[in-house]
């Protein structure tokens, strides 16, 4: 790592999100890619940051209660009647 390049700290705290989201200028992306290739701790950090993202995608509730729309409509109708709406 030469001094004109980013430190691991700058890379992780300031640049990693844009690197991952593809919202970074190409020249910066190439510089970071080079850093990852030469820096095992940063590469491990990137790999586990990505693994975190993949893990989070599994959290989305797969099952919406089957009659939810109907339940909501019945609920609102009842409340309306109760409150004279």
């Amino acid at each position: 790592m030469s001094h004109d390049e980013k430190t691991c700290q700058e890379l992780v705290l300031d640049c990693l999100l844009d690197f991952e989201e593809g919202t970074m200028p190409e020249a910066d992306r190439v510089e970071l890619q080079r850093h990852f290739e030469m820096c095992p701790p940063c590469l491990n950090f990137l790999t586990t940051y990505r693994a975190t993202g993949r893990t989070l995608k599994m959290l989305k509730p797969r099952e919406i209660p089957p009659a939810l729309a109907e339940t909501v409509i019945v609920f609102v109708r009842k409340r309306c009647k109760k409150e004279g709406g």
Binding site: T7, D18, P40, N44, T47, A51, T55, L56
Partner: protein
């Protein structure tokens, strides 16, 4: 959310304002799954999420007259849904909150990592182990202050577009990115700690302020 969808939303909004039951029913059909999923992110319990969904649509029904048609409906309604969920969450015993700052990566003065960075990503290659980790990740998200929790749930779990999230939460894109990154760093660190000995991170002497950035 594209213009066609926004136009379709607006048509239903006007129908509901005019007292058309069918417009309300169509709106429920259109949004119930998304509202349920958002509420689930806050409450992490199917029964509570279902009740919060009912609350959100009840508020929609009563308050639609206050919706400003020059704004986007989805962002107004997602805020209604989040409020309904947080209102239910406040009725439950609150979870202990942890400091995000204590779980941020640590660096030495020269910018290198202060501790080893193990690669535990192999742990999610096994489907069952990955599901277990995902369950834990859900608990870690729940520890986050709401400003961070909403962002990471909406983006990484719900996969909503960043512009829609920023609009819903009424924050700038830089603030959205800052919160998302810090929330991810937090969850990553908590997941790392499950994989082996805790890295030699020094707990900070004073809890850091969790300013919504």
């Amino acid at each position: 959310m594209d213009n066609d969808q926004a136009a379709a939303d607006l048509e239903l909004v006007r129908g509901i304002k005019a007292g058309e039951d069918s417009a309300f029913e169509k709106m429920v059909e259109r949004y119930h799954a998304r509202v349920y999923s958002l509420a689930y992110g806050v409450l992490r319990n199917p029964e509570d999420a279902e009740e919060a969904t009912q609350d959100a649509f009840w508020t929609l029904y009563r308050k639609i007259g206050t919706f400003d048609e020059s704004k986007k409906f989805f962002s107004w309604f997602y805020r209604v849904a989040l409020n309904a969920a947080y209102s239910r969450a406040r009725r439950r015993p609150s979870l202990p909150t942890t400091s995000i700052e204590d779980r941020m990566p640590r660096f030495l003065g020269d910018g290198h990592f202060a501790a080893d960075v193990p690669d535990w990503s192999v742990a999610i290659e096994d489907e069952a182990a990955a599901r277990e980790l995902a369950k834990k990740a859900g608990e870690f998200i729940a520890e986050l202050p709401p400003a961070y929790r909403d962002v990471i749930w909406m983006y990484d779990v719900e996969e909503m577009p960043s512009a829609d999230i920023a609009e819903t939460l009424e924050i700038s894109i830089p603030a959205f990115k800052s919160r998302l990154h810090r929330a991810r760093l937090y969850v990553r660190q908590r997941l790392s700690e499950l994989q082996g000995p805790k890295p030699a991170a020094k707990p900070s002497a004073t809890p850091a302020a969790e300013a919504a950035g």
